[in-house]
Symmetry: C2
Subunit: 643 residues, 2 copies
């Protein structure tokens, strides 16, 4: 691990987004998802399952009588909402929203116990049981989310209200957990606080925050197993399933793990927190562990859409190369977690492969989890859907053919909200005098706070075309370096500065331009973006003889709305693809069309027959971006097509 490689994200406060793709999403979050989710948290959405979230805090604060409602981790829904709303304030000041935030933070403060404890489940149901069921009861997880919320609110407003509340809770946790003999040697059943503590540490620089995060990561899975001791006599499902404690990534110490296993969201959050610790402590051993896990996750267990966690059972990873398209889970939150992790790996080493995965997740397996208008959501992100199968056959019943309004377990919607509102922070990294463009995002970025005396103005039609134009605005000509990511999907590109072809060194997926940049310099990148048929490693048995279609970072699919039903009978041919940007279709997409074929044959009532050559008839096929599926009528969808 070369600490000289470390980059630091350019904070979103320095970025203005005016992007043809993401600006719309950010507006949807701001104008639709954040207000809607606020209503949901307040149980004011008619017909939706009650959240009980605000209710729980009011009961915990003594302002209302009642029981705790919802899941044991219900507090985290509010936390993720505060985080998303705070990021939104950064981009779009909104006094009414800030007032709601102030009020709810005041409520949170009232619910906090004198010693700092803050979890409505135990405050309402009995504090004597707190910290006795780390395995499944999510106190540390909820704390982690509320910490992230506190930091986001502090960044957005400068107000320490929620931060101070959470510092008191962290102090209590720090005095409860640790290697010392008088402390519990526990760690969370659902990871999350590790990465949150690292965010906190980067603000407070208080070594105890780093130490606690590191402790949670290093203690995890050590012998004797804390969870085993904690749960003797209890009958916990996952711990007694064939996962055992590896469902919680706690079957053995993290540094001994070589494959992504167990609950996928948990794994992604753990690896993200571990990456932060590896970076801050320059722990190469830990980074090497993460590299091994990265290789396994993205090289053997990731769908082409960036979804991870193939198994419905336990929302978990399956095993190497087991990537069924129809019984997949691919939770939205797990894809988001992979984006978190990819970004952190990128901060340790700016390698194109990390950014490629980040981009893949952002344009595919994460936003596929939301309706284009932000009103409905998927938990599960399948690559093959047959509505009749989902309704009639149990093995596919977790695969929903339509997004749902709001879940009892509502982890995914606010997770999408915070991902999208914080998206600008994924775009740029700085290392000394080098700025890395990881993503191509229209708008401006002010690099002056990062030691580079310039602002960049970016115009791009990404992801519908690969043209990126950057204009330098600066008061002083200066030597610095621009590292432009050349995506892994891109086989050919052209790079120019002020109209002249630039000689750029390509290293680890980035083209480096070093020069004295002056005001008005124009850097132009043209990424060739043909339609590509992709194939999977033949160890992925489900995809043999099939191809997926991509253009740039966007994975495409066929949908019944365009192509009729029984999509398994469709195949691609060698016919060329045409690409048309259609601004009015599905909020504006590049549509791909081609001449494919359909397996004819009316078999009447026959089920089996002697084999004959199939009669394939010509059929025009229309492909749309995968993320945009299920935004019209209910119907079949398929990513991997016969070829």
């Amino acid at each position: 691990m070369n600490t000289k490689n470390f980059t630091k994200a350019v904070p979103m406060e320095k970025i203005r987004v005016r992007d043809s793709f993401w600006s719309r999403y950010m507006e949807v979050v701001r104008t639709s998802m954040i207000p809607y989710q606020w209503k949901a948290l307040n149980d004011k959405v008619e017909g939706a399952a009650p959240s009980y979230c605000i209710h729980n805090f009011r009961v915990a604060a003594g302002l209302e009588k009642g029981e705790h409602g919802g899941y044991v981790f219900q507090d985290s829904d509010l936390a993720k909402w505060i985080e998303a709303a705070s990021y939104s304030l950064i981009h779009h000041p909104d006094p009414a929203l800030e007032k709601d935030l102030d009020d709810v933070i005041e409520l949170i403060g009232k619910a906090q116990q004198p010693d700092g404890y803050l979890d409505t489940y135990y405050i309402i149901r009995g504090l004597d049981q707190r910290f006795t069921n780390l395995l499944n009861n999510h106190e540390l997880y909820c704390c982690g989310h509320m910490l992230e919320a506190a930091i986001a609110f502090y960044r957005a407003t400068g107000k320490r209200s929620l931060l101070d509340i959470m510092l008191r809770f962290v102090d209590l946790i720090d005095s409860t957990f640790g290697p010392e003999e008088n402390k519990k040697h526990g760690y969370p059943g659902h990871e999350e606080i590790e990465l949150a503590l690292m965010k906190l540490y980067r603000i407070t620089k208080d070594p105890k925050h780093l130490r606690l995060a590191k402790y949670f990561i290093d203690e995890r899975g050590q012998s004797p197993n804390y969870f085993e001791e904690e749960n003797k006599g209890r009958n916990f499902y996952w711990a007694n399933s064939y996962f055992k404690f590896q469902y919680y990534q706690a079957g053995k110490p993290l540094r001994e793990q070589i494959a992504a296993e167990g609950h996928a969201v948990r794994a992604m959050y753990l690896y993200s927190g571990a990456a932060d610790v590896a970076k801050e402590t320059a722990d190469d051993g830990l980074y090497q562990t993460l590299c091994t896990l990265w290789k396994n996750t993205t090289g053997r267990q990731m769908y082409i859409t960036g979804s991870v966690g193939a198994s419905d059972y336990g929302e978990s990873f399956s095993y190497d190369y087991d990537l069924p398209n129809d019984t997949v889970y691919g939770e939205t939150c797990a894809a988001i977690g992979l984006a978190f992790w990819a970004h952190r790996m990128l901060e340790i080493e700016p390698r194109g492969e990390y950014a490629d995965v980040l981009e893949k997740v952002l344009y595919n397996g994460s936003i596929s989890g939301m309706q284009l208008d932000g009103t409905r959501f998927f938990y599960v992100n399948p690559l093959e859907v047959i509505p009749e199968a989902s309704k009639k056959a149990y093995v596919y019943s977790h695969v929903k053919p339509q997004r749902q309004k709001w879940f009892g377990c509502a982890c995914c919607p606010p997770n999408l909200a915070r991902l999208i509102t914080s998206l600008p922070e994924y775009a740029y990294g700085v290392r000394d005098k080098t700025v890395f463009a990881h993503l191509y995002l229209g708008g401006t970025v002010d690099l002056r706070g990062e030691g580079i005396p310039a602002c960049l103005e970016v115009e791009t039609g990404y992801p519908w075309n690969g043209n990126v134009r950057m204009t330098v605005h600066t008061d002083e000509a200066a030597d610095w370096q621009l590292a432009l990511r050349i995506p892994g999907w891109c086989g050919k590109y052209a790079l120019s500065v002020n109209g002249e072809t630039a000689a750029a060194e390509l290293t680890d997926g980035y083209a480096f331009i070093s020069r004295e940049f002056r005001d008005g310099d124009i850097i132009e990148l043209e990424l060739d973006m043909p339609v590509e048929k992709m194939q999977a490693n033949p160890r992925v048995r489900e995809d043999i003889g099939r191809v997926a279609v991509m253009r740039g970072p966007v994975v495409y699919c066929v949908e019944e709305a365009d192509n009729g039903g029984q999509l398994a009978r469709i195949r691609l041919t060698d016919a060329p693809f045409t690409v048309d940007y259609e601004p009015d279709l599905l909020s504006g997409i590049a549509v791909i069309r081609t001449q494919g074929e359909y397996l004819e044959g009316d078999w009447g009532e026959d089920l089996y027959r002697k084999a004959e050559a199939g009669k394939w008839i010509s059929k025009e096929l229309t492909l749309i971006p995968y993320y945009a599926w299920a935004n019209r009528q209910e119907g079949e969808m398929r990513v991997w097509m016969r070829n």
Copy 2:
């Protein structure tokens, strides 16, 4: 429904089996399975899960103290064993076995209550609760199996001991259930007694036995729903699942049902009992319902192996054309149930399609459930197995790559034993002066009790070749008719009588030879039996682009033992097949070999790449009969191959 079409099976007492295929199976059952299962029922098999079966009867009889052990339907394991052992006595007298049967029947008699009640679960746990949970507690199911056992024992020995016991129990049931106001309007949660009562009726000719069977069938699913009333306030899983009462085929009256739904074994037993009732009451409406259900079951929901019940969830039918090969259930008992049903349909109308399904089940999806030596058994009969997937991925975890010794729920092993020992009874049917050969089974059949003054001696190499030679032995030349089944899989055949080509009328899958048969007449049938590639209706999405290989009635598969692993990478070509009978391999099989191809490509750590033409290298493939898979080392197996 034309009652003139009705046929009657030639009873197994009149058939001597000397068959190159089935004699070995019958010997395995007699010498291995029946003794082994007797030990298992007596809890004397070391290392196997205890059965508690005999224990339960001893406790119920007051001979032992103790609790009821095993499932609520544990008595049925003993019943199926008695039935199988009795059939075996018919073919092979065995005083020691008969003594065991006498003794255990005496024990059963001691357990019977003064009013005739006989179910060890309720006798031990409290008679006050009897008949209060028909939905799930299997009393009528167990009674049905014990009735079948009683009839088999009576047929084998002429002894009425068990029959009289069961007649008393049937009388009690008859006085408890029925349309009269003072009776319960219930019916079994697991069908079986219906077909058993019909077997009883054919012996007793007592109309109350027919009436009771018909009542159970007609009352099923009527409104108000008996199960709903019975279980108010109880929380029964399947009734509350998305199946509702249709899991028990009781969501609506049978005559309104148009598709096979719910638990597959239950459905098969119900349809079998209903076919008996339809025939005995000449109820065309009921037969038409069964024809509709037959078309659905065998035309849309049956694997090419004859397995039915695609879904692990509830061991149930899925929906039309949903026939996944890897997540399949295909319970051995459900295939056996389909054989029962097919045989009964055949007795209503001798149509080749019924016999084709019967034969398909017998040579494939039923006996695949047992190890060749009869010591291990499958519940689940998959068409695609990857041991690593079964062990690591929950969605395939019900698919075992190796047969198991004995199950806690041991329904399948004794069901196979009774199927195989009663197999001769499936071979012939008689209608007036016509004898139908449904199956080709080496040995002799004495038709004199059926009104045809002859015995037939049959020699055949079936299923390894299609040559059948029948010799007539008779004291009197007489006019009668021989109807030889021409299997649906057979495209070409030659038929001769005494060496001269016979002109035979082919109707509904049978070739009819009418003549004055004399002693020594020789009828020769040569069924052309090439290796055939089969394809599935393209609505079966799992099988598009794939073929299965059959020869005669036998479905073949590729196994890792012969072909190495990663069988998904194999494909067939247009290369010819060779067939070799190998007497020492897998108890004697015809092996098929061909030149196929294997998808090369070492992708290193890559997971996705731009598509290129696949590099298929030549590979010799060896195919073995599907039923014989998993008799060597553990490994992959696949029926549907790319083509």
